[in-house]
């Protein structure tokens, strides 16, 4: 059976990515979780972190996700995030600058966000 997941990665103001995939790895509050076709229905809270989507064509899509949810049922998986960016949308230099600025100002939230962006961008 050519099992496939239908994945939709949606941010609050737009649909970031959608398509067919064979494996999705995301970080929930209780640890990394990998979802493959036929997984049992799941609803979880996401930590901010990179999400890896292995598409059916064999490619890999990596996105930086800042908070949100993962929900899976009937081979349909949706990743909901307030902010989500695909790794190739991320401007590495800007993220680095942001990280330095956040470190200097002691802004933990911004620091975490910049770190996640960088990790997603370098993982591609």
């Amino acid at each position: 059976m050519a099992a496939e997941l239908h994945v939709a990665l949606v941010a609050a103001d737009r649909e970031v990515w959608s398509g067919q995939a064979t494996l999705v790895v995301a970080r929930t509050t209780s640890g990394d979780i990998g979802v493959m076709p036929g997984h049992q229905p799941l609803l979880g809270v996401l930590e901010s972190g990179p999400v890896t989507i292995r598409t059916s064509e064999g490619g890999t899509v990596i996105a930086a996700v800042h908070g949100g949810f993962i929900s899976f049922a009937d081979d349909k998986l949706s990743l909901l995030a307030e902010i989500a960016e695909l790794s190739d949308e991320i401007d590495v230099q800007r993220a680095e600058r942001e990280l330095e600025r956040a470190k200097a100002e002691g802004d933990d939230v911004a620091e975490r966000r910049a770190e996640v962006r960088l990790r997603a961008a370098t993982a591609r």
């Binding site: 939709a8 949606v10 941010a11 609050a12 103001d13 737009r14 649909e15 929930t28 509050t29 209780s30 979780i33 049992q40 229905p41 799941l42 609803l43 979880g44 809270v45 949100g68 949810f69 993962i70 929900s71 049922a73 009937d74 949706s78 909901l80 307030e82 902010i83």
Partner: protein, 304 residues
């Protein structure tokens, strides 16, 4: 040029200038409506997925949460009113304000205290002018609200509802906004947003779809804890976007009728100006004719 004709010409010039401005504003508003509508559409997948998730947790577990439990006696409610920063939008703002006042009156009749939260300078100005108390207000983003703005608005409201009533918290939250029905129809309406009733949310979903039994990660309570504030934010975001779209549509309509009226005025004025010019010419001709006749009479007299 006669004095009267000059006055008409001047008025035509000034009305033409005004017409150009209103026409430009009409076109700007028209393009913004489309953009705002697209934003409403873009936010729909997130809202739909969130609704689905809330329904799933709500029906799949018997968890209680402050955002979903109805207080036994409601002593204080919060009303969130969405207006715009700028006017020139016909009855847009006054309709929203009117709806908010009707709601306030109704709540007060039921013996509840009402705290008012306002988005948009127009609403703030209205309440300040009447020296009424505003619990909190925001402005500066009503034309193009972002999700961050919605978060900013939602945070104190969620906090207020989670606070005990005795300590100044509120028991329920109503929202008054302008629903974008179509390009021609926008409707100010009020809705109770909190406490959320999961049955109501469930009713919005298409019938016949059976929700699967979810496995919650880490637990149903935690998921609900994280989900509900997001759900409220997304509802507020949607209301902000609809309000913005409605405002632009109202502006477009108001500016269209202003342009039409200016066109009509120009037409009337140019008719009057033409009549004045014609009268002037007629007068000049009769003056010349009169003058030549008098001159001819005079020469005829001296010849004799």
């Amino acid at each position: 040029m006669g004095a009267q004709l000059r006055v008409y010409k001047r008025r035509i010039r000034s009305v033409t200038a005004t017409k150009k401005i209103t026409k430009a504003m009409e076109m700007i508003a028209a393009s913004r409506v489309v953009k705002a509508q697209r934003k409403v559409a873009a936010s729909t997948p997130y809202a739909a997925e969130l609704t689905r998730a809330v329904t799933a947790v709500g029906t799949g577990s018997n968890t209680k949460h402050p955002l979903t439990t109805q207080a036994e006696t409601v002593t204080r409610s919060a009303v969130l009113l969405l207006t715009s920063d700028r006017g020139l939008a016909g009855a847009f703002n006054s309709n929203a304000i009117k709806a908010a006042e009707q709601l306030t009156e109704r709540l007060e009749r039921e013996g509840k205290q009402v705290d008012i939260y306002i988005v948009g300078r127009r609403g703030v100005a209205h309440y300040n002018f009447r020296e009424r108390k505003i619990a909190e207000s925001w402005s500066g983003f009503t034309d193009e609200p972002t999700y961050a703005d919605a978060k900013k608005v939602a945070a104190p409201l969620i906090e207020a509802i989670e606070t005990e009533t005795a300590e100044g918290g509120v028991d329920e939250l109503h929202i008054v906004y302008t629903e974008f029905v179509s390009m021609m129809t926008q409707q100010a309406l009020d809705a109770r947003m909190l406490p959320l009733s999961i049955e109501e949310i469930a009713e919005e979903r298409p019938k016949g779809e059976i929700l699967p039994l979810y496995d919650f990660e880490p637990s149903a309570e935690d998921v609900l804890d994280a989900l509900l504030p997001r759900y409220v934010e997304s509802r507020i975001y949607n209301a902000l976007l609809q309000s913005a779209a409605s405002k632009h549509a109202a502006t477009r309509r108001a500016m269209k009728s202003a342009t039409d009226n200016a066109g009509e005025l120009i037409e009337t004025l140019s008719r009057l100006a033409n009549a004045a010019r014609q009268a002037e010419i007629t007068q000049e001709i009769s003056e010349i004719v009169g003058g030549t006749a008098a001159l001819a009479d005079a020469t005829a007299g001296s010849d004799r």
